[in-house]
Symmetry: C2
Subunit: 267 residues, 2 copies
């Protein structure tokens, strides 16, 4: 599929988490424009059913297409794990999810072949990381762990301290016991807990964030399609619910940068 | 407003929490039929904006009216705090929220006049408990505390243990420091943490659950309207998202009783 030379790159997420992906893209591809949609009226996706996540993802992707994006990044692991293959069939533009890029990076990083995967309940229940890792290398051992308290902790602005450490121990002790040497952060909220997670796992365990791997994929697709950047670059932020909290927390995800989101009618 | 003699009592909540209210109603009024709607496709409400919570609450109430309920119980503190006065104006049947009954019970319980209120971010931001308590007794001191991690803990099935105790300490230490003698659990999820909360506060602090107070109000309204129970009683459960998790967790809220929910198309 060809990509327009001037169209922005679209991203969607159930809320704020996808901003970690946007941040990485803006670092690697600063000359591009971006359109970000955070569906915070229906946040979170990670506790919802497959059918509902697919419906929500379709609506988000359609919104981005109406805003004439040239490429869609599903900047949400839950939506990627659940809806990506369906969106790939339906959308007239290239689409990139979180799973493929993270799996590629994890396979490059592991030496022992024992990989841990952290994600929301929906992502872990989908087995998409496990299947994708073992499709590419059947010898890989995968230890998966749903971490339902991580997103609420991040959303509550709790990124360190005793409670965070106890929750990390609760979820990560089984991975440590199985001696994983690589851990995939399979949710775009989790990079905000990176310091505490890396602290618990120790410096010898590679922690894979999706955002860097996604940015590399987007870069490659754009290069293959010979799609140079548009002349004037800008980033637009849309949300389906409250703007105030989004703008406030966005600074946390984007590294203190201020944003002004626009509220749209929820679907 | 008159109440039909045979129509069921309708309840709605953003998910499971309202089942604690249903449970109490079924204990007090076992001869009535009930229609319960859990809007779990858009759960939780407590982190959403006022405008969005009002829209969701309207849609839930309309669904219950289509199912011919004779009375609507807003079994969700967030929706009660935000949308009750609007629904009262719009609905053709009596409507009961969580706030009024809980406030009445707290004022009966307090001796020192220092009352703590725990709730979701949206409920606490609405100041509805504070305003309602002080409207009835201007001498009351209110210490309010948003507890954004309580609902995720309950939904993750974590009702006791070290992490629960640490989170309770985090939220309740300010209330203890102010020497509250009464605490309102301003969220229908929180009664599941009652044991741990009461353990931290000690036996001399009265903990007010909305459910009992609501059941007393419903009983009074029915008596005033001379509305005897229908001849055959039954309870119907509707959800907007996954049935499996709802049925499974419902047993936790209803005291091990099994339910069979019906999934409806989300609004």
């Amino acid at each position: 599929m060809s990509i327009s030379t001037t169209k922005p790159i679209g991203l969607f997420d159930s809320g704020l988490g996808g901003l970690t992906v946007l941040r990485e893209l803006q670092l690697v591809l600063p000359e591009h424009s971006y359109t970000y949609l955070g569906d915070n009226a229906r946040f979170p996706y990670g506790t919802k059913s497959v059918e509902t996540i697919i419906r929500y993802s379709r609506e988000c992707a359609q919104f981005l297409l109406k805003h004439e994006v040239g490429l869609v990044v599903v900047a949400c692991n839950t939506a990627s794990a659940t809806a990506l293959s369906i969106l790939e069939q339906e959308l007239p533009v290239p689409i990139i999810g979180t799973v493929g890029p993270a799996v590629r990076e994890a396979l490059e990083a592991t030496r022992s072949g024992i990989i841990g995967v952290l994600g929301t309940s929906a992502t872990i229940a989908s087995h998409v990381y496990e299947n994708s890792l073992r499709e590419r290398d059947a010898s890989i051992r995968v230890i998966s762990q749903a971490c339902p308290l991580f997103v609420p902790l991040v959303e509550a602005g709790m990124l360190e301290g005793e409670i965070v450490d106890k929750v990390i121990e609760l979820y990560l002790a089984p991975l440590k016991a199985q001696q994983v040497d690589t851990v995939i952060l399979g949710c775009t909220h989790y990079p905000l807990l990176l310091k505490a997670i890396q602290g618990y796992l120790g410096p010898d365990v590679a922690v894979v964030e999706c955002s860097r791997a996604i940015a590399a994929d987007v870069q490659r697709i754009l290069a293959n399609n010979r799609a140079p950047a548009g002349e004037s670059t800008h980033t637009q932020y849309f949300v389906t619910d409250e703007v105030g909290q989004f703008n406030q927390l966005a600074a946390l995800f984007l590294g203190e940068r201020q944003v002004q989101a626009v509220r749209i009618e929820s679907f």
